[in-house]
């Protein structure tokens, strides 16, 4: 991908839907299984990623002309690890209640493929504003995926949402165990592929009828 010609809004939508990190690109699947056993975990993980992804894209784009292409990888590592440590330390000092909720997840972000991938594929080749839009879109896409997965897992596995019990009776405990994470991600990915295929079919059918009418 060279310079992008898409508008900022298109870039955001691209990250949210057509290039959704988890359901389309299938990268960063590890957190989508590890931290989606409750809606609360999924939510906070998603929020942290939106922030880090946007900031990393912004920074990489900002310094892209100083980066020698041969050493871009270690520099991306530096930027990502730097942001993660910065956020971790400043939250531990100044935002203690939030830190207790999401401190654990912030540290995990260092190893996320999706953040690295966007720096490499997009931010290092594009201007600042489109890079921020791309980061925001990818972050929101990840956030939505986390919310959807954790919604189903907590509801089915615990009969609760955000810690509040909703359904009584024996829940499907396997859904909040790691195995259930694979089920949830796989089934949801299949569902979205099915929706996509149906939409494409309908579009094709519409086009042929239009052609016939003409």
């Amino acid at each position: 991908m060279a310079h992008t010609h898409k508008s900022n809004w298109e870039l955001i939508k691209n990250g949210m839907f057509s290039e959704n990190t988890i359901f389309r690109m299938a990268i960063s699947l590890c957190p989508s299984i590890a931290v989606t056993n409750s809606l609360k975990n999924g939510f906070f993980m998603g929020v942290s990623v939106i922030f880090v992804q946007t900031m990393v894209n912004l920074t990489v784009s900002l310094i892209r002309n100083f980066i020698n292409p041969k050493i871009r990888i270690p520099i991306f590592m530096m930027v990502i690890a730097g942001y993660v440590s910065l956020i971790d330390m400043s939250m531990a000092a100044f935002a203690r209640p939030i830190y207790k909720q999401i401190g654990l997840y912030i540290q995990l972000i260092v190893a996320f493929a999706s953040i690295f991938a966007r720096a490499e594929v997009f931010a290092v080749k594009n201007k600042i504003i489109p890079s921020v839009a791309d980061g925001l879109g990818m972050g929101i896409g990840f956030f939505l995926a986390m919310i959807i997965i954790s919604f189903f897992r907590e509801l089915l596995g615990k009969g609760a949402l955000w810690g509040f019990p909703i359904v009584s009776g024996n829940p499907l405990l396997i859904m909040i165990l790691p195995a259930g994470g694979f089920f949830a991600v796989g089934l949801l990915m299949g569902f979205f592929n099915w929706v996509d295929a149906k939409l494409a079919e309908r579009k094709a059918a519409q086009e042929t009828t239009e052609k016939l009418a003409a």
Binding site: N37, F66, I67, N68, I71, M78, I176
Partner: protein, 226 residues
């Protein structure tokens, strides 16, 4: 790759890493003192909730369950609290200060670790003078969600009230004087009860009731300090 290219790349990398390092160092210098103070305050608050009736909770020793650093504390209640005016040495202003008269030991708090199903479970245990458990609290754990994490629920923590070293035993099913296991989480229940709480109480009992005289001496020392 020529020598010039190599030098260029090296300088490029060094400059960016040094800038990044400096930013991190600056933030760390600003944030770390606040971080440590807040963490200490939180620990004190956690100890106070364990023994709300105590006026003073002081660390009296260290021990190492599972090679982890843990401390135990003595809780004291003042016989009488007297307010007295003290002159601040720096500003010269008079201010009120609480004085603890005739402090009495009302129990101990011990931090312990139990080896659970998938993590070390960090526990605080409050005991009275006779080493009977008054209250326990789970500080940190990473047990299986939905099964093992029931250990932090109130209904399980309540089962420890009034237990002693001899009755801190896990039983599957109904029990009158022992600790009933959480169904589906026997390993986690056992880790809390027999590994964490029991070992903590046992250690306290051995160290403190064995050396009654020594402890008396220590208390006198505390008294003269305050």
């Amino acid at each position: 790759m020529t020598a010039k290219d190599m030098a260029k790349i090296t300088i490029n990398l060094i400059v960016i890493y040094v800038i990044g390092g400096l930013i991190l160092a600056y933030v760390y210098a600003k944030a770390s003192p606040i971080m440590f103070i807040k963490a200490k305050e939180e620990k004190e608050a956690a100890l106070r909730t364990m023994m709300p009736e105590a006026d003073k909770i002081e660390a009296i020793g260290k021990w190492e369950p599972h090679h982890k650093h843990a401390e135990y504390y003595a809780a004291e209640k003042c016989g009488e609290v007297k307010l007295k005016s003290v002159k601040d040495e720096k500003t010269g202003e008079m201010k009120e200060e609480k004085e603890c008269i005739n402090p009495q030991n009302i129990g101990y708090v011990v931090e312990g670790f139990g080896k659970g199903y998938s993590s070390y479970i960090n526990i605080l245990v409050a005991v009275d003078n006779n080493f009977t458990v008054k209250k326990i609290n789970i500080l940190h754990h990473a047990e299986t969600p939905g099964l093992g994490d029931e250990i932090e629920k109130d209904y399980f923590l309540k089962r420890f009230e009034g237990k002693t070293v001899d009755t801190l035993v896990v039983i599957k099913g109904d029990t009158a004087d022992k600790v009933e296991a959480i169904s589906g989480a026997t390993i986690s229940s056992r880790a809390v009860t027999e590994d964490g709480v029991k070992n903590g109480v046992k250690m306290l009992k051995e160290k403190l009731s064995g050396g009654e005289k020594e402890q008396q001496g220590e208390e006198d020392q505390h008294g003269s300090h305050s």
